[in-house]
Amino acid sequence: MNAAVLTPRKAASVNPLKSSAPLGAAMAYLGMAECQPLFHGSQGCTAFAMVLMVRHFREAIPVQTTAMNEISTILGGMDHVEQALVTIATRAKPKLIGICSTGLTETRGEDVGPELKILKARNPELADVGVVFAATPDYAGGLQEGWAIAVTALIEAFVPAEKLPTDRDQITILASSALTPGDIDELRDITEAFGLSAIVLPDLSGSLDGHVPDAYQGTSYGGTTLEDMRRLGASAATLAFGASLRRPAEVLEARTGVPSRVLDLPLGLEAADALIVALTEISGRPVPNRLRRQRSQVVDALLDSHFYYGGKSVALAAEPDLLLPWARLFAGLGAELPVVISTVNTPELAAVPAASVTVGDLEDLEHGAAEARCDLLVTHAHGRQASARLGIPLYRMGFPMFDRVGNQHRVSVGYRGTRDRVFEVANLFLESLDHEHEGEDGHAGSHTAPG
């Protein structure tokens, strides 16, 4: 059964689920080594995105702005781009400047990409700096779409269109915005267990993983280097995690001839299995014992936890890359999903195991959850208001997560990530059971919805 995708005609979005595409692009750029993202827009475009990322990652976020004003908006902003590039190159000395456009500059119809060569040629300060441009109008898509556009732009700018001799032990991982730095570390570990080494693009695990460098750095701390980009053509395969990366995966395959596969986020037993199968096939090596043991732990986690999921009613809201695996995880443990909200409409939504998916906002989540008397809200930190109003617990997942620390290390992928998340949510259900049976003998009787 396919989920019906509903796109209600609401004029006012209330309590947005979505963050903006340029924010996603800038975050992708932050997964590049010694990079300085640059928003081509008014300075608020940068300030809002920066503050939100700072609150989520609890790290300095080195993003800059072309500081468009009334005059440059009318006359054109290329000299602002040029001035910004030179200023950044001189001051922060990055290896890479990643430009993302915004609603403001895209409405004007400014095409920055073709001009970059000219700007680079006439400014010697830019000679040793890579510059890349992603067209990310705020009025199209959200964070994961902006991220994917930036990944495509990076591939087109820095991966040579040529076949390289294949290194059988190297793979490329294209990482979705839905993966945390901790997730990326976990994927790298799993890959290495098969004797493979992975180049991850973009790689937040070195840059936004919350570490304390030895010296001050005004750019991103770590991440994918431009040298790494030039080696992507030598990989034995490309694994893209998250359907949002289908386009960059295709572009990369077309340029390098390296075969690519697009997998769901490896969260949940089946999705994690798909990853392991892919790695077995690519490496030609058997599944290492420790992964076999970890799989068995997931099976045990599912056994121990299914009591608490069964019959529960869950309201879920996230971007598609995250939405699908989480929906499958809940449905696979016997929970029902009467309310599922996505930021955008994508073909993958039909595969969500629910009667319907609404392209909407957190007001839709709140009203739906109230009507269906849900037991749990699952979304990012902005769900906290709905949770408080409805008296329904909130399980935090996704971006932004501004009222919790340690977000960068939360691992939800692979067997270990799946196991931990399954237990964590089960414990939330258990906790509400405790509340409902306070004063009773602890026997889990018939369930009543709270609130």
Binding site: A11, S13, S42, L52, L104
Partner: protein
């Protein structure tokens, strides 16, 4: 026209920064220097307008624009409410590509209708942003029609991001209040007292009003409206009947104070509730102006008595921390009046202020800061570049930095204590209670045992 509004705001005669400028610089407007491409920091005019108006707690704040302007920014401030929570919800027209092509006015009109039907607010504030401004959406017209047809004030806030800085947005927000809100309703004549005041430029961050209101209650002084901290729409419409205005956060809303004086003869004074001396001075000025406006003269004595009692109580509570803070070095990296208003309290603790940043400070602020720093001009600095700030802290030139969130990680990565004293702060630092809280938080921060742990090298890095 927005253009005329901008010229008007730039010409603010009571703005000290403006007075000091040449005619050419005045034309350029506020904080024009801050907008260098590739080296700019801070928000846009829309950001400033939203910050200044969002603390009106019972209205719906609707952002007309693509997702970034509200989706990346809603519910991100700690301005508190003693009641309604509607102001914390995010409302936006979330413009799509089709809206950009066909124009967003119709969608805006529908959005206003939907919000009024669903949430029944006393008013809707509609924020113009860059994209609809560029495609020519006439937000003012839509708001006018909506007000007429829906019978609820729908107020256009015309401050698209590209017109300038956050500070400019603050002022445009003030203009909006003057044009559409303040003076649009009259209170019951029996409900007007000479001890009614407004607080202009106070945003009730982390509920700071809660540290001030008990003092005012005791004196019989009533806040007609916070402009805009914890404000109700109705109170704002009638706040032109207050007898005194106190202007906080100097530059942000000076136009509101001056124009309320012009239109309704309400005298205003500038003051601050940060620091002990400042709080006392503010209360004294307030009492004197209330008496001048017809309040019973004993208010002054009662105020003096309250100040004496509260100051003594405050110092008593601060003293236990003083021993633990004595001799510690502070890097004060803030701006405006905080440049100096916190310094005296730090000195009182026996702390040494190694530098204080005088960004966004008026000449008066700078003079006061210089005086407190005993004429040491080197201690007064403009912006400190992050690498230099990191070096200072890493090399132990200060034991703690007081600043805003933007530089938090410069301090933490330099393994140095840090305390947020700007808008994202978690604790309330206003009035006497607030000063005690600030000192306590400094003590907890700088004396936390964690510093020894995080500064110690890994065992294998220690040379034998």
């Amino acid at each position: 026209m927005l253009k005329d509004k901008l010229a008007d705001v730039f010409n603010e005669p009571d703005c000290a920064t403006n007075q000091a400028k040449s005619a050419a610089d005045k034309k350029k407007g506020c904080a024009i220097k801050g907008l260098q491409p590739g080296a700019a920091a801070g928000g846009c005019a829309f950001d400033g307008a939203k910050i200044a108006l969002q603390p009106v707690v019972d209205v719906a704040h609707l952002v007309h624009g693509p997702i970034a302007c509200e989706g990346n920014a809603w519910d991100n401030r700690h301005s508190g409410s003693s009641g309604p929570q509607l102001y914390r919800m995010g409302f936006t027209t979330d413009l799509t590509e089709l809206d950009v092509i066909h124009g967003g006015e119709k969608k805006l009109w529908k959005a206003i209708k939907e919000i009024i039907a669903k949430y029944d607010p006393p008013a809707v504030f509609v924020y113009q942003t860059c994209v609809p401004a560029l495609i020519g959406d006439d937000v003012k017209k839509v708001c006018m029609v909506a007000t007429e047809k829906l019978g609820i004030p729908v107020i256009p806030v015309d401050a698209p991001g590209f017109v300038g800085s956050k500070n400019l947005g603050n002022k445009l927000a003030g203009e909006t209040l003057l044009d559409y809100v303040i003076g649009t309703a009259e209170p019951d004549p029996d409900d007007i007292r000479p001890t009614d005041i407004n607080l202009i430029g106070e945003y009730n961050l982390v509920g700071e009003l809660g540290q001030i209101i008990p003092l005012l209650d005791e004196l019989g002084i009533r806040i007609r409206a916070g402009i805009t901290g914890d404000a109700r729409y109705r109170d704002l419409t009638m706040c032109h009947r207050a007898s005194v205005n106190m202007l906080l956060c100097g530059q942000a809303m000076i136009n509101v104070a001056r124009k309320m004086q012009e239109r309704w003869g309400i005298p205003y004074f500038e003051g601050s509730f940060y620091g002990i001396e400042d709080t006392s001075a503010a209360l004294r000025n307030m009492a004197a102006l209330c008496v001048q406006q017809g309040a019973a003269p004993d208010l002054i004595e009662r105020t003096d008595a309250l100040i004496a009692r509260e100051e003594a109580r405050c110092w008593d509570r601060i003293r236990p921390h003083a021993d633990r803070l004595k001799g510690r070095k502070v890097l004060l990296y803030t701006g405006g009046h905080k440049t100096w208003s916190v310094v005296s309290a730090l000195h009182e603790m026996g702390m040494e202020v190694v530098r204080t940043s005088v960004r966004k400070a008026t000449e008066t602020d700078k003079a006061k800061a210089l005086d407190l720093m005993e004429g040491n001009e080197d201690a007064l600095v403009q912006a400190i570049p992050n690498p230099e700030m990191y070096r200072m802290l890493r090399e132990g030139e200060a034991d703690i930095m007081l600043s805003g969130g933007r530089t938090q990680f410069v301090a933490l990565k330099a393994r140095t204590a840090w305390l947020d004293i700007n808008q994202e702060r978690l604790y309330a630092y206003a009035g006497y209670d607030g000063m005690v809280e600030l000192v306590k938080r400094m003590d907890l921060a700088v004396n936390n045992p964690v510093w020894a742990q995080v500064r110690a090298p890994a065992p294998w890095e220690v040379s034998p």
